[in-house]
Structures are given as structure tokens and as C-alpha cells.
């Protein structure tokens, strides 16, 4: 134990006494490690978020029904419960899913499509609240601009029908709870609760909607049947299988299968390229660090011999170069982290104006830093142990005369 403590303090004294040499080792290590960390930061930052964007892009995950069918609520429940489906919601006939919107701030009335939405809708994933009840609505950016309104404004929605030979119009006071980002939808679309969509269809079909005091025939149909649906797979990997299953059920659907294949192969190829660079980098890093630390053990042979001569045991002597390698590993890693952080900030700030909101170009998680430290320490210790074992095997007299 005494020898152990002594070796720790001696190795540190030597390390700081030779600060120029130690500094060179640290710089050499950091200069290999820092670029690798920046490369990984880029891979983890911009490349990953680009790929994730492509993978998660709702339009690539959407499975669209072609033509109209007859789907009951039980069918929706069955599909909604599946793990490979992220979201599914009924659609009504497109003619019935239209509303006229009017705002005090715009001169015109705009005919707008109604989309039912609910929690977890991939199209509206960036929006916190979803329309509830009959009086809330989220507008697409396009229609919001035309109506010249913002979040929180109130607008008038109106529906027209021919009922018993007369033209009837009802109004509904809607609150715009949010506006969907421009990339979500380029058409005039109002996202509403399924309740409002169904009420609209009922009205147009001449049925009464008691909740909204809309008169008409009393609903006689026992079960509601929907002609279509809006469906999103959990990931692009699920799309093809879902399409096949639906077609086997006799449902004619379409999906962006060709684009999905392209995205998947880009993802795969980029990953391969990164791993090749990473492996070459890691091997090069290991060799350069290993070689310099190995050489250091050789350089220290004389002093190690003196330590053995004054009575340190061979096994403890190995610790001397190993500890010094650890110091180099730790300091080099610290320096590399510093360089990386400066580079990360610079890259992110320089390119910030070109970015979408909250996207970062260069980014690493805390655990990535610790992986880097682990790899560094492992390589450092291995190289030094190999060199150290060699040093401890030579007889104490070897190296004494080089003084």
C-alpha cells in the first residue's frame, strides 16, 4: 500500500516535472480526439435530425384510402389498437366535410376542408393542444393567412344545405386555438374534433344535431359508417406490410413506398459511411495514442530502473507509466471536450440562421463524452500496461547505464 501511494505521487511528480513533454502528449491526444468528437457531433446533430425528419415525415407514413368504402367504428378500434399504427381517424364524404369560414379581418368567405384530428395526430405533432368539443379549430397556415387571423381569434363557420326544398344555413362560432405550421398543409384546412366533423356531415345529410340546436330528421341509422380514413404507420418501416394487409382485406390504398425505399437506403448508406470513418478514426486514434505512450515507457526505462533499484517491486513499477498514461488520457480528453464544445457552439451559432426552429447542427449527449473518455482510458491503459509489463520484465540493471 505504501509503495502504491508512493508510485502515485512519484508518477504525478514526474509528469508535472516534465510538463512540456506531458503537454505534447496531451495536445497530440486532443488533436486526434477532438475532430472525431466533432464528426460524431455532426452525425448525431444535423445528419440524424435530417434522417429522422425524413423517417418521421408524416406524408411518408401516411396510408391513403383510394375511393370510398364502408368502415365501422369497430374496424377503427381494431386498427387503432395496433402497435404499427401511430394514428387513425375517420373521414367523412369530402363534400360533407367542407365549411365556409369568415373573419372580421378579411373581406371574403373561404370554403375550407374539415379534417378530424385528435391526440397523437402526426400532422399536428408540434402543437400542444388539439380541438375539443364543437367550438375549437386549428387552421392551416394558408387559410389562417387568407383570413388574416392569429391564434386565439374567433371566426364564423357556416354550413349550407338543401333541406325539404329549402336552402338552409347554420352558423357556428369557432375559436382558433392554434395555427398549424406551413409545412404541415398547403391547402385550406380546418382541423376539428371528430364530433364537429360528424355534426357537419349530419347537418348536410339533413339530420338534426341536438348539441348545436340544428334541426332536421332524427337520426335513424343504428351504426355510423365512414367512407374513408386518415391513417399513419408508426414508422416508415411498417408501411409496406400495412399496405399489403389492407389490400388483402380488399381495401384499396396508396402509400409513398418508392420514397420510403429511398429514405431507407440513404439512412443505411450514411450510417455505413459514418461507421467506416468512425472505425478508421478510432483505430488511428488508438495507434497514435498507443504508440506515443509505448514510446514514453521506453523513454522512462532509466528512471523505472532506478525505482526498481531503490526497491520498488516490478508489479508496482508497471503502475508508473500506466498512471502517467491515465493523466495524459484524462487531460487530453478534457482538452478535446473543450475544443469540441467551442467548435460546437461556433458551428451552431454560425449556421443558426439557416436552421429550422430548435434544430442543432452539432450536438452530443453527455453519455457520448463518457464513451469518449472510456475509449481513451482503455487505449491509454492498454498501451501503457503492455509497455509497462515489458519495462517490469527487464532487469533493474538494464537502463541504469544510459544515464
Amino acid at each position: 500500500m505504501n509503495q502504491f501511494n508512493k508510485i502515485i505521487s512519484l508518477s504525478f511528480r514526474d509528469y508535472s516535472h516534465e510538463w512540456r513533454m506531458s503537454g505534447c502528449f496531451v495536445l497530440a491526444l486532443a488533436s486526434v480526439l477532438a475532430p472525431m468528437m466533432i464528426l460524431f457531433g455532426l452525425k448525431f446533430g444535423i445528419v440524424s435530425s435530417m434522417i429522422t425528419g425524413l423517417i418521421e415525415n408524416p406524408s411518408n407514413r401516411e396510408i391513403r384510402a383510394v375511393g370510398s368504402g364502408r368502415y365501422e367504428q369497430t374496424w377503427f378500434d381494431e386498427y387503432a389498437g395496433r402497435k404499427d399504427i401511430a394514428f387513425i381517424i375517420p373521414k367523412t364524404r369530402s363534400l360533407a366535410a367542407t365549411i365556409q369560414l369568415k373573419s372580421d379581418k378579411a373581406g371574403r368567405i373561404y370554403s375550407t376542408e374539415l379534417f378530424a384530428t385528435a391526440a397523437n395526430d402526426p400532422l399536428l405533432k408540434d402543437l400542444e393542444t388539439k380541438p375539443q368539443g364543437f367550438y375549437q379549430v386549428i387552421l392551416s397556415d394558408t387559410i389562417a393567412n387568407k383570413l388574416n387571423i392569429e391564434q386565439g381569434d374567433r371566426i364564423d363557420g357556416s354550413l349550407v344545405r338543401q333541406f325539404k326544398g329549402k336552402r338552409e344555413r347554420v352558423h357556428i362560432d369557432l375559436q382558433v386555438i392554434d395555427v398549424a405550421p406551413a409545412h404541415v398543409m398547403s391547402r385550406n384546412v380546418a382541423f376539428v374534433s371528430l364530433d364537429l366533423l360528424l355534426a357537419t356531415e349530419s347537418f348536410k345529410d339533413g339530420r338534426a344535431v341536438a348539441e348545436l340546436n340544428w334541426s332536421g330528421n332524427v337520426n335513424t341509422e343504428a351504426l355510423r359508417v365512414y367512407p374513408s380514413f386518415r391513417m399513419y404507420a408508426r414508422s416508415i418501416g411498417n408501411v409496406e406490410k400495412l399496405v399489403n394487409e389492407l389490400e388483402q382485406e380488399g381495401i384499396n390504398v396508396k402509400a409513398n413506398i418508392a420514397e420510403i425505399k429511398t429514405v431507407q437506403s440513404i439512412d443505411q448508406n450514411l450510417s455505413i459511411i459514418f461507421w467506416i470513418i468512425a472505425c478508421v478514426g478510432a483505430v488511428g486514434f488508438s495507434f497514435s495514442l498507443g504508440a506515443s505512450l509505448w514510446a514514453n515507457v521506453d523513454r522512462k526505462r532509466k528512471e523505472l530502473s532506478i525505482l526498481r533499484l531503490v526497491g520498488f517491486q516490478g508489479g508496482k513499477i508497471i503502475l508508473f507509466p500506466v498512471l502517467q498514461s491515465m493523466y495524459t488520457g484524462l487531460l487530453g480528453w478534457l482538452l478535446a471536450v473543450l475544443i469540441y464544445l467551442v467548435a460546437e457552439q461556433t458551428i451552431n451559432q454560425l449556421l443558426a440562421p439557416n436552421l429550422e426552429i430548435e434544430q442543432v447542427i452539432c450536438y452530443l449527449l453527455p453519455q457520448h463524452f463518457f464513451w469518449a473518455l472510456g475509449l481513451t482510458m482503455f487505449v491509454a491503459a492498454t498501451a501503457a500496461i503492455l509497455g509497462g509489463i515489458r519495462a517490469s520484465r527487464i532487469e533493474p540493471s538494464d537502463g541504469l547505464r544510459d544515464i
Binding site: L10, D14, E303, I306, G311, F312, P396, S397, L400
Partner: protein, 241 residues
């Protein structure tokens, strides 16, 4: 006086630059508190023999290689080497032997004081003023807090001697300790060392190529004889009284 080193037919061979070299010690006994000089020109194997006596180099063969540092414990050094008992050898070295190298062999990153106290600390010896008093006798007590790099060659050798005896070994080995010093400094240092060694009852073995110097100090000397054997392939060096 008890016998400290007892060597019979100890052989060590080396190949240097393609030429064979063989060191032989037919029969040598060194008694406690003796003051022995290994005399011979440089390259004759003095350092090799000294390294073997310091347990820092293993002999190729030995009929007998015993060390009895305290007079009663006897270690069979040859057997310890053969059994690869490096740690036992390190322990004996640490306790009983002090070694002075030609260039001092001081650790450059420790102060003079730390260099001197290193062997004591390794043996868990308490801190006392003996370091300072030996340093005073050796004339280096004003240099204790300096790094060796700031000392003159003579001062470094004084420090090396002080370190070698700081833990009170029974044996002091010195390999050409004064070779890099001017004759006046060398004589001064050796005179002080002789005094100390005598006072501390230490057995001292010095390698030297300086014959005149050795005779003047009136030491027992082991002389080296060289011959070329085996068709001129091997340079054989033999040490005897």
C-alpha cells in the same frame, strides 16, 4: 567478522556488438565492514559484477552466490533469481543495499531531500534528523530543497551517496562514483564517504578504474585479469584478490 558476500564460480556472459564477453568470479568472499575496490579498466565488467552484487542483474551460473547482510540471515541469491523471486530480491535490495551510480541516478523530478528520503519512506522509516545530519556531513545541507538539475556534478554525487546510505543499509555499492569529477573534488568526497562508512559500519564495494586513487586509500582490491579465449571469440574477464 562475518562473511557478507560469498561467490564461487559465478559466470555472466554478454554479447556486445557481436563480440562475446564473459565475466568470471572463481572465488570471492567479502566480510562485513570490509572496504573493497573492484579495479580494472573500463569495459572490463566492473559494473556487471557490481550490478550482480546489487541484485540488479542475474548471473548465468553460480556454484554459490550467497548474501548474509545481517550476518545470520543467508539468502541464496542464485536460487532466488532462478525461481524468479523478483519481489524478494527487491525487498533485500531495498533493505540492505545502497547503490551509487556513476552519474548519480537521482530522480530529476524530486528535490534533493525527497530523493534522499525515498528509500527511507519505502521502508516506512520514521522521519528524523538523520537525513539532515548526514547531509551536513556530506556538505549538501544547503541544497536540500533544490532539484538535482540545479546541482553541480560533485554535489549530485554527494546527494547520491547520501541517498544510498539514508536508510542505513549494511552494504554500499558505488560504480565509478567519482569518474565524472575532478580529482580534488573526487578525493574530498571519497574521504568523507570513507569516514561515514566506517562510522556506520557499512560494507562498501567500489568499482574504479583509478588505480592510484585506490592504492592511496589503502583498500582491499579485487583485480581483473583479461584474456581472449575460444579462438578469439570471447573476451574473458576474471576477478580475483
Amino acid at each position: 567478522m562475518s562473511v557478507i558476500y560469498s561467490l564461487k564460480n559465478v559466470v555472466k556472459s554478454r554479447v556486445l556488438d557481436g563480440a562475446g564477453f564473459r565475466l568470471q568470479v572463481p572465488s570471492v568472499e567479502i566480510k562485513a565492514q570490509e572496504n573493497v575496490a573492484l579495479v580494472g579498466h573500463s569495459g572490463c565488467g566492473k559494473s556487471t559484477l557490481l550490478d550482480m552484487l546489487a541484485l540488479a542483474l542475474h548471473p548465468d551460473a553460480a556454484d554459490e552466490f550467497n548474501l548474509s547482510p545481517q550476518g545470520d540471515d543467508t539468502f541464496n541469491i542464485d536460487t532466488l533469481w532462478k525461481k524468479k523471486k523478483q519481489n524478494v530480491l527487491a525487498k533485500i535490495r531495498k533493505q540492505h543495499i545502497g547503490y551509487v551510480l556513476q552519474q548519480g541516478g537521482l530522480l530529476p523530478y524530486l528535490t534533493v531531500r525527497e530523493n534522499i528520503e525515498l528509500p527511507r519512506k519505502l521502508m516506512n522509516m520514521p522521519e528524523d534528523d538523520s537525513t539532515h545530519s548526514i547531509a551536513r556531513v556530506m556538505g549538501i545541507h544547503r541544497q536540500l530543497d533544490k532539484l538535482p538539475g540545479l546541482l553541480s556534478a560533485g554535489e549530485r554525487q554527494r546527494v547520491a551517496f547520501t541517498r544510498a546510505i539514508s536508510h542505513r543499509p549494511s552494504i554500499l555499492l558505488a560504480d565509478e562514483p567519482t569518474a565524472s569529477l575532478d580529482p580534488i573534488t573526487a578525493r574530498k568526497i571519497m574521504a568523507v564517504v570513507m569516514e561515514l562508512v566506517k562510522g556506520l559500519k557499512i560494507t562498501m564495494i567500489t568499482a574504479s578504474h583509478d588505480w592510484a586513487h585506490v592504492y592511496k586509500m589503502d583498500l582491499r582490491s579485487l583485480h581483473q585479469e583479461a584474456e581472449v579465449v575460444e579462438n578469439g571469440n570471447i573476451y574473458q574477464s576474471t576477478f580475483r584478490d
